[in-house]
Symmetry: D2
Subunit: 346 residues, 4 copies
């Protein structure tokens, strides 16, 4: 073999399906993570008129699930909002329904505006109000219906970038357009939400939370109960995580959901985490530095915080509490021993 | 050796510290458990006058912790209420305090009457109101103080029969009579109780729940939220277990605490469990069959239900909801793979 | 009520099933554990002749399971060897069988002498040789048969003091005198013991180890592989714990089994643990201090080490390795958060 | 807004960073997974001469780690062998060393040929022989040295496609070229491998197995002990998984490693799993159907089995046992609740 040149050898092994690692090493092993995602803000007020527009110009047949995908400029194909995760904004109008189906991707809805719609999740009708967090964990049947009068909009969070990346995505139609109700309406939030009390006669069905709806009214009570004399974390203030009643852990195996409450004047300590995060402004106006960019968040805006980016929350110029909803792929990273989190110097 | 008789041999081995198992087998291995405890009811109204009496006749020096031990007639020495568990009724009067200490025994208080007292648990002042469940898990410092006006009474639940049975009991005095407050008052119930939301900036310190107080107001909200159209279990109706927010499991490693709500007319299916249980009537009047005995529970009464005894809850003649508080050694039995539970035929 | 005396009040509440805690407090809460068990050694060579005697003078009908119970002088009624645990020495003679049964008590056998007997555990015939550790976890059917020529003796370890203390003991006869073989002989040790390799096509059936026999040949290989340049722990030298292949944890939920190898001249650092331990000398002569007593262990002797007793292993005057088999209730204490262990000053 | 066309609206929202989900739905949600990887076989005998060639023509400076990456034809950029996983073949020559480093990617080596080399993993020198499985779990320092006489080759397995896909890859040089030895040579396999015995004085440091080397000699003993009368699984025969002694689970959080032994004439039942698998022929010749393709595996060949592909193992025409080494991303999928496995009809 010594008679052939190195280039000839490279060419030959390519034909055999091999490549020299030493020519690619630096591309594969980095001193620290580089996210393909970029920090990015989506303005809700800019997008809202188009969402209404599509309800007028496109029939349900043309666009049954009217969701605007928030595509990170660095993650166009396949589309994602940050690593592992997707954010979209969905709108439904009175009288509209969506065909019942299920997928292995885990999903939730965080309600932005509107009332009197419900989703049916594995036979439970779950009603929605602004600020509510509704879960449709992987492989749970779900559909929805809108009995109210105005547009209904919510933030759709899914992990299909993760399930697709693992080539583990399944999808199935229910058959009938909608599911029948098989338990009392809002059963799970009625029996699971209050006072840390578990319904002993129920049995966990999956690793995900059985709670269909974590209503905003309870989140507000929690924030009120904590009051003003509790500081929370240096970086993020009072941070509350929605939990699975059977485990105390995250609501779904790959996604955690949190509420952050920042006091007027709060300036967080910079931090970074290998988890990729999506923030949604529920109330108030915060400034968020991510990497080299500073974003002013208006209410209802959505912000992509790539993994391992330095970020800092700043409410120095706000006069009211800021409340943020955040979700990330932290549970997946923790389960795979890939989570690193650290506070940084100012 | 053949020259000695069997009786001589028995006598000789006894001197060597041995005994023939075949002469004791039937005493050690039973077809099914026989509890030394007997079903027994303690009448709160009968005991209450004596508790007040002792506050008048005995100084704090003579009886610092005025607790009436509810001693099961079958478990006199050492005293216990049922297997593994103790129930007592404690009274404190305005201005009284108790010396700060800790023990490996796990303990809780379920408040029966009175207001304006607090206990300090590991530096957190925890206030008490009727129906509240307060925890003092093993090896947590605790003391109490009464700033109110009338007598304050509660049910004391402990597992010292279990910790003593395992010869694993430690006890220590704090030194100072009372602890200083080191976190905001009622911190833990403010940050842990509402909406299934966990304070992310906190870290679990023990295997026990970090919640100082599960207030009755929240338990009532839970029962109200569940409403009338949910049946719960065939044997016990709507049964809610107080949970550890970090695990979703029992509040302490050896004791679980539950609330049962029985509708007027409810007649439970008979059942039995190897767990030993103590019931306390919070509201309403129920009839409880345990083994061959039938007990009429008046409000605030306490009932011992020995392990593996057939029991049946009966509200056929009640016109209001019955609410029971129950605690048992189920978590210990489950951890040791000794829990068996079954429904029985009517 | 003020008109009655305190003594009258005491008398009255006794009739109501209550006792004043303040008169018993010191009996129930101790600064540290006091074991009812005492340190005690049983001489195997003293007991052996009596065991043979009983095989000659008592028929199988009179003494089907010829087990000498090693009863701790402090734990006579009910009998136990240390807290939670029992040790016995069993003898079977050629041709003898024992009726198949099961009990919730967990059990093991550590073989002392003899060959060519087997036990059938849930349908698997498990053969025995000296030094082998055989498991019969709770509620596993078991019987035995002796096809060899001389007496067969083993150490029986059980946790019936613990299961009885929790009033959770069940016992059942199989019906037929012996079980049929339903898997290949010694299946579990063949597929589970070697090289840390798990048989993927098998499924855990219980929380206990599925291994019927941890053969001495493998234990010896382990000790040989470790060799002489590894020190192990300061108190106990090289300590190896038999593990459940599915969990890496103890072989049964309430009992751990360990091998200790002490080099000639080894003098361990004193230590204590709330776990109660039974030692059995497999090889060599060690001196063991327990509390205030010093014991010289001859091969095959058995020693009770009560919980929280200071103990120290001493091989200063031995010229060969000492090998000890040890079992304790450590897993139960750990599961209930009652385990404390500490090294002490010399 | 109604005055603009739908196309104009699409164009406008694109500028705002959004896309209509309804135009992409079918690309993102599939009835079942489609792997980008294709079934592919790499011939060891074809690649071996080139590996030797590179050792002659390239200096260590030019190619310090001489690894041929086995790049799946469907997974070129970034390169991977199957979803989540990488396989490479590494060669080192006598006297060669490699610079000590660590990375968050988990890695192992399965030795193909050569002797007298060792790797140092976190201070432990681990020697290698053919058939040995050596672990270098994430963030463990490692380097290697070859003191023998011929070429040393091994299969390198890593999960950097997974860690990079999660943007959680870190890499660090040790500083010195090689680590110093800090524990006895081959310490971990000496104390952890034999007889299911755990060294009690050691403490788990990570979620990965502490075993540096699972030697082939032990794997062979395991296979010999199982013998010929055990069938194992219908699809894969006798399948043994290398386990973490502290957990009984997989050796690393994202990768499991297994040995399959197929008897001559064995024809497996077809199956599929969402796990992506790489097979390596240790001994014998097997035929493997993957999807629509049939591969004849020669000893030392490597085969990519994409997730959810139907596969079938066939030894109908072999006269000796076939032994395969297999690794997959099953632990990651299981942790994220994405694992589905099923047997198929013939």
């Amino acid at each position: 073999m010594a008679e052939i040149t190195t280039d000839q050898a490279y060419s030959q092994i390519t034909k055999l399906g091999a490549e020299p690692l030493w020519r690619h090493y630096g591309d594969l092993f980095h001193p620290e993570p580089r996210s393909a995602a970029v920090p990015h803000r989506w303005s809700f007020s800019d997008l809202r008129p188009y969402m209404l527009h599509f309800t007028e110009t496109l029939s349900l047949e043309e666009a049954e699930r009217r969701v605007l995908m928030l595509v990170n400029p660095g993650l166009a194909d396949p589309p994602a909002t940050v690593n592992s995760l997707f954010a979209g904004i969905q709108i439904i109008m009175p009288g509209e329904t969506a065909q019942a189906h299920r997928h292995t991707a885990n999903a939730f809805r965080f309600i932005i505006e509107g009332e009197s719609a419900y989703t049916t999740v594995n036979g439970e009708r779950v009603h929605m109000r602004p600020g509510d967090l509704l879960l449709t964990p992987g492989w749970h049947w779900h559909d929805h219906y809108h009995e109210g009068s105005g547009p209904m909009m919510w933030l759709d969070g899914l992990d299909f970038p993760l399930t697709n990346s693992f080539e583990a995505g399944f999808f199935e139609l229910f058959g009938d357009r909608t599911q029948k109700s098989s338990v009392p309406d809002d059963f799970s939030s009625r029996v699971y939400i209050h006072g840390r009390l578990n319904p002993v006669w129920e049995t966990p069905q999956t690793a995900s939370s059985p709670v269909g709806n974590y209503p905003w009214s309870e989140t507000e009570r929690a924030l009120a109960a904590i009051g003003d004399d509790v500081d929370g974390s240096e970086s993020e203030g009072v941070v509350l995580e929605y939990t699975n009643p059977w485990t105390g852990g995250p609501v779904m195996p790959t996604i955690d959901c949190r509420i952050l409450r920042l006091r007027p004047g709060f300036v967080g300590r910079p931090a970074r985490t290998t988890a990729s995060t999506i923030l949604h402004a529920v109330r108030g106006r915060a400034t968020v530095e991510v990497g080299d960019t500073t974003f002013d968040l208006e209410p209802k805006d959505i912000l992509a915080v790539p993994g391992w980016a330095r970020y800092r929350l700043d409410c120095a110029s706000t006069s009211d509490d800021v409340v943020l909803f955040a979700y990330s792929n932290r549970p997946a990273l923790r389960a795979l021993e890939l989570l690193r989190e650290e506070a940084l110097a100012d």
